[in-house]
Point group: C2
Chain length 205, copies 2
DNA sequence: GGAAATAAATGAATATGATTCATTTTATGC
DNA sequence: GCATAAAATGAATCATATTCATTTATTTCC
């Protein structure tokens, strides 16, 4: 109950406990973090402000775990693919965290670095300046949606053939849920990059 | 307190009250629905099972509000664009509802019809069968991400020029948040359709 | 017409969760 | 040593989801 020799708590301990709970159960709560760390619930408030604060710390942690990769010595297509993939991979490290993050799409400083790399890469593609913002956003949307789908439970995607014959044909050869998401992600990535290439060549407008 | 002449409650009343609260405040709760309808909290459980149940009813409602549009008499490109746009427009009707829906990506029966239309349309594009599933998923990811971004608060997307020059250039000419999202959506839509077209022509692989 | 079943609404209770705050105790700077 | 800040706490508040036995009204069926 009194103040101990060395502090029992730290922001890092709290965030790690929260992340562990999220990975295991898909959510965290103050009582469970406190139990995990062997402290009282109210003690947590000496280090952090609120639940939202913990979520923002988790977001930062997710983007600090993987260092950005150098990208300048590749074709812009390969560079873009690598950047988008690494963006998605960060979410894939802690899939259950994604739903907690996306409900408030904050463009935190940690994400900005990757956006900057992407902007530089897209400038090399020859895309007109006014299209670079929309291109980054589109990529963001795609990666976010894919990350969200990756967290969805393994469901049987089995449309009844009578009602939805085309859907039935389309999903006939799907493996596990993870494989399906991975295939979709690879497909969308190629298609997006190819589409941007066309747009850059002004073959669509 | 006793049983009234005519029922005070119905599933529809509950769902409408929940939707109204979501539109106004971004969330709903049992106490507030009950207050809104002038009934007791526990009465709600005579009609609905749980909070999740209400969310699923809201999801269904969102997709029933807008009837599906006939699509067979257009080029597959225009048809695809229309389908994706209408998918997104449903979310735009009730933006604040989106975060509640995406946290559990369920492919409810209501969405299946649109998927079927999309599958039929993509078959007309000449895309190989095994790519149709991934194409639908990619489009889904993109539309979902865009819908989520549309709910984000109007933030000042103003990267400091020293740190992020390319990002600065890319976002120089942005208007309101809604305009930015709309531009990004239109761009991504064109790019996706163009990319799929290339893929169908087997010019990328 | 009346008994039995069912529908509707309720109050009270339980459990979990976020958050505040005054209090106690310990460390630390001067 | 003393003032002050740091650390942890218990207790309290408030909101929420959910359960359940109970009361009353309506319906059904003989």
């Amino acid at each position: 109950m009194p103040r101990p020799r060395s502090a029992l708590l730290s922001v890092e301990l709290i965030v790690n406990a929260a992340l562990k709970l999220v990975d295991e159960t898909g959510d965290f709560s103050f009582p469970r973090i406190a139990r995990e760390l062997g402290v009282s619930q109210s003690s947590l408030y000496n280090r952090i402000e609120s639940r939202e604060h913990i979520i923002e710390l988790l977001r930062a942690q997710l983007f600090e775990e993987i260092p950005p990769q150098p990208v300048a010595d590749q074709s812009w297509q390969d560079a873009a693919r690598m950047l988008i993939r690494s963006y998605r991979d960060r979410f894939a490290q802690h899939p259950k965290l994604v739903p907690l993050l996306v409900t408030q799409t904050v463009h935190a400083p940690v994400v900005m670095g990757m956006y900057e790399d992407l902007a530089l890469t897209l400038e090399r593609s020859g895309l007109p300046t006014e299209d670079i913002g929309p291109a980054i956003a589109s990529i963001d949307y795609f990666a976010l949606g894919a990350a969200l789908d990756a967290t969805a439970p393994d469901e049987v995607w089995d449309p009844s053939p009578e009602q939805f014959p085309a859907l039935r044909r389309a999903t006939a050869c799907s493996g596990t849920s993870a494989e399906r998401v991975a295939r979709a992600f690879n497909f969308g990535l190629d298609v997006l990059v190819a589409g941007i290439e066309m747009r850059a060549k002004q073959e669509i407008y």
